[in-house]
Amino acid sequence: MSEAIPLSTNEQEILRKHLAHHFDTPQQQFESGKLGMWLFLATELLLFSGLFCAYAVYRALHPDIFRFAAQWLDWTSGLINTLVLLSSGFTMAWGIRLAQMGKKKGLAVCLILTMTGGLTFLAIHGYEYFDKYRERLLWGTLYNPDLGGNGKPVLQEASAAPLVGGSQPARTGDWPLLNQLGQAGYIVSHSDIAPAADGPSGIVQSAAAEPATLPPVQPYNVQIFFGIYFIMTGLHSFHVIVGVGLMTWLLIRTLRNDFGPTYYAPVDYVGLYWGIVDMIWMFLFPLLYLIH
């Protein structure tokens, strides 16, 4: 298109300034950049695909863990985040359109809106993390929620762990015992959850009083779910942070009048990136939050 319309001297200036010596035409340069960006985004997808594989393997082997753990994820905040990201994706796309048309002010507004979307997403997600931290719904040995009351399910298997002297043996190295108890396949290590042996909210009593909607018994290794949850959402949030950083950079360049109808490639590339970040979330949300 740009070849057909005679360019203003200013536009020619922009083109010349941004053409690297080893390209013959701006078109070639733009296409190269775009192909490179697509390839890079493909590697991003593959990076996540490893985690999706881990998710799939564990979910296939231990569906009970996922059913049990997912009830602790707040699907409403997940949904709000989905909507926030979707609308920020929309503002980004609109921004690219405005950049093509050379409307700098509109582009700046769109970039600010997109950034706001990204930051809102991070804020809501950060609150979710904080919530999980408060409830000790964390990974590995840090998974230690209070299962004693509040309508939360309680644990029965805790008694399967050998208890001597009031405290739990450390997790490391304990699983061979269960192994020798004759459990085939994946050995389930006992939980580190406090046994809650005494008091009115002790194991057996409240187990009977459980609401029927929740799985009455906590499966082993729920911490695995939270490990996966934190890695996947954490890596995604990292990408959102990088995205917001890139928006800031674009905003500065926009205000510096760097972009015009002939040169807007960086806006286009960041738009593609943001699209992929949105898309990954569209997979993460149902896989993690909507397990029921």
């Binding site: 690297a20 010596h21 080893h22 390209f23 070639q28 296409e31 190269s32 950049g33 192909l35 490179g36 390839l39 890079f40 493909a42 590697t43 991003e44 593959l46 990076l47 996540f48 695909s49 490893g50 985690l51 594989c53 881990a54 393997v57 564990y58 082997l61 990974w139 590995g140 040995t141 840090l142 997790r171 490391t172 190295g173 304990d174 699983w175 994946y186 050995i187 389930v188 290590s189 082993y220 290794n221 911490q223 695995i224 490990g227 996966i228 934190f230 890695i231 890596l235």
Partner: protein
């Protein structure tokens, strides 16, 4: 950017001094921050050779240790003293593996040879993203530095495979090492990405897909693997770091995790990585053999497509590393089947090279000697691989020295020999100097003997039952272990000779003509060494393997293209030394 403009001026300068990419500009920062693919290639080569030297030193230490059954260097009188000593041995072989795999075999052919030659072979001025290329190089440097830092603090003793849960529980600096490899992975991704875009978008007019030299095809397939497989090792290593730092538990059986999942993830990258190592090597051989046979490559399309086929099928064979770890027999069968499927195109390339030599006019110069060594060694490596791909025999050979021998035949006898061949083949182009042909041949023969003396006994002793990664061993294995060590010393001699004559040639070597071997690919139409912009005019593209109108000119000690009917006229584009001087 500024170099670009100054270098353009240099070609029009009227000074008698030749300006080429090596000597203009001369400042250190102009090297360290260069965007010129050739300089980046040379820097990769330098650092890669240093890494190879350190890795080789580790190999010599390993072989010396194994001279006696109880261990010559690391040993102890009590069992606890042995544990302490053997841990150091384990660190040494881990370093050997990590350096050789992640810092030499994977990055060096694309990074050094690919970077230097790819745009020249294509007829392009540079790679598509020169800045990304520089970032790639510095990521490589940072990765190497992190890994070396771990060496100082207490190198990982996990083996290069980082199998969990050992890598989670050991008290060595695994995180440092793994972060270094993480960075190397990004370097590899960016290089691959850069090459793919370059090959797609920067071909000059006339350079159709089927006029690309086969090394470009091989690099293309390699880059595709780098882009598609490396992210998976990235996320795997990230998870391993999180295991150690945060105890995330995905791979740790003590936390309910699955250590076998780690192996699947690891080999999902690391098996295709084997093809990252060997495909460009095959590409190099496909360049050298026709030039030194003075004959068109046989079955161009087959070789080109087989590279792609190998790259594709290579993604689905990773499970053959896990035959004895308890995956289901059905999976074992599928992986074994696919392994044999991918073996055929790799093997058949050998027949193509032999057919190229048939009725040629074979010049046994140093690069060709390396190409022939490659054929012999890769044949042995490939055929021993067949035994390992078969399920029943893998059960008795898995994790033995047979495997060690096999992959050294492929990786050393294949990739490293091809790399050395490539260095000798493009040396005149890289540095504008010729090396001593006599010493080149001597070193090649010594190295060939050394490789066989080192690795053939390993095949024998492995079949007899010696497991790998042993710091001490049963006395009946000793004769073979000793032979293998002698072989390693022979290799050392060959490498010392090589270093000596190559360094000598850098400073004292005869000036190289533009086309010393009579190659028909585009890089030989540029002066040796080329100018900053590679091609002063857009090159005219012909058949890369048509040698019919290249004739030897004793005055130049190189080949020139003569004008013949029905062929492109290159002669005017070859800058003769005299012409250049008076340009």
């Amino acid at each position: 950017m500024s170099h670009a403009t100054t270098a353009t001026i240099s070609t029009t300068e009227k000074k008698p001094v030749e300006h080429h990419y090596l000597n203009y500009p001369r400042t250190i920062s102009s090297w360290l921050l260069t965007l010129d693919h050739k300089r980046i290639g040379i820097m990769y080569l330098t650092l890669g050779m240093l890494a190879f030297f350190v890795g080789g030193l580790m190999a010599e230490i390993i072989r010396t240790q194994l001279l006696v059954p109880k261990g010559l260097i690391f040993n102890g009188s009590t069992i606890q003293a042995q544990y302490t000593a053997f841990k150091h041995y384990n660190q040494v072989f881990t370093l050997h593996g990590i350096i050789m795999v992640f810092m030499v075999l994977v990055p060096i052919i694309p990074g050094a040879i690919g970077n230097f030659t790819l745009p020249l072979l294509l007829g392009a001025k540079d790679v598509a993203f020169p800045r990304l290329n520089l970032i790639s190089f510095w990521l490589y440097v940072s990765g190497v530095i992190l890994a070396i830092a771990s060496m100082i603090f207490g190198a990982a003793d996990t083996g290069w495979t980082f199998y969990t849960p050992y890598s989670i529980t050991t008290d060595t600096y695994v995180v440092f090492m793994v972060s270094g490899i993480f960075l190397l992975g990004f370097s590899s991704i960016f290089t691959g990405l850069n090459f793919i875009v370059t090959i797609h978008k920067l071909r000059p007019p006339g350079m159709s897909w089927f006029r690309m030299p086969l090394f470009v095809w091989a690099t293309y397939a390699t880059s595709a693997i780098q882009v598609a497989a490396t992210p998976v090792i990235g996320v795997t290593l990230l998870l391993l770091i999180l295991e150690r730092v945060m105890g995330i538990g995905i791979f740790n059986p003590a936390l309910g995790g699955n250590p076998v999942l780690f192996q699947h993830f690891f080999w999902f990258y690391s098996h295709p990585a084997v093809y990252i190592m060997i495909l460009p090597a095959m590409g190099i051989i496909s360049e050298i053999i026709p030039v030194f046979s003075r004959k068109h490559i046989f079955g161009y399309e087959f070789i080109a497509f087989s590279s792609l086929a190998i790259a594709l099928i290579g993604f689905f064979v990773w499970g053959h590393h896990l035959f004895v770890n308890g995956q289901s027999a059905e999976l074992d069968a599928i992986f074994s089947f696919l392994t044999f499927l991918v073996a055929v195109p790799s093997g058949v390339k050998i027949f193509n090279w032999m057919a190229t030599m048939y009725k040629g006019a074979i010049v046994l110069k140093t690069p060709m000697l390396y190409a022939i060594s490659f054929i012999v060694l890769f044949t042995i490596g490939g055929l021993t691989g067949v035994v390992l791909g078969a399920l029943a025999t893998d059960v008795v050979l898995h994790d033995t020295y047979f495997v060690v021998g096999h992959f050294h035949y492929v990786m050393f006898g294949g990739t490293i020999i091809a790399l050395i061949g490539a260095i000798h083949y493009w040396w005149p182009k890289m540095f504008g100097r010729m090396y001593s042909e006599f010493w080149g041949r001597i070193a090649c023969v010594i190295l060939f003997i050394g490789v066989n003396v080192t690795f053939y006994p390993q095949l024998i002793v492995g079949a007899y039952g010696m497991p790998r990664r042993y710091a001490s061993y049963l006395p009946e294995y000793q004769p073979y272990m000793d032979l293998s060590t002698i072989g390693a010393y022979i290799q050392l001699v060959a490498f010392l000779i090589m270093a000596a004559y190559l360094l000598h040639s850098l400073f004292r070597g005869r000036k190289a003509p533009a086309n010393p071997w009579g190659g028909a690919t585009l890089e030989w139409t540029t002066p040796s060494p080329p100018s900053h912009d590679n091609f002063d005019t857009t090159p005219v593209v012909g058949d890369p393997y048509d040698y019919s109108n290249l004739v030897y000119d004793p005055a130049l000690d190189g080949y020139i293209r003569v004008d013949r009917e029905g062929s492109h006229d290159y002669a005017s584009t070859i800058p003769m030394p005299e012409q250049q001087a008076g340009h």
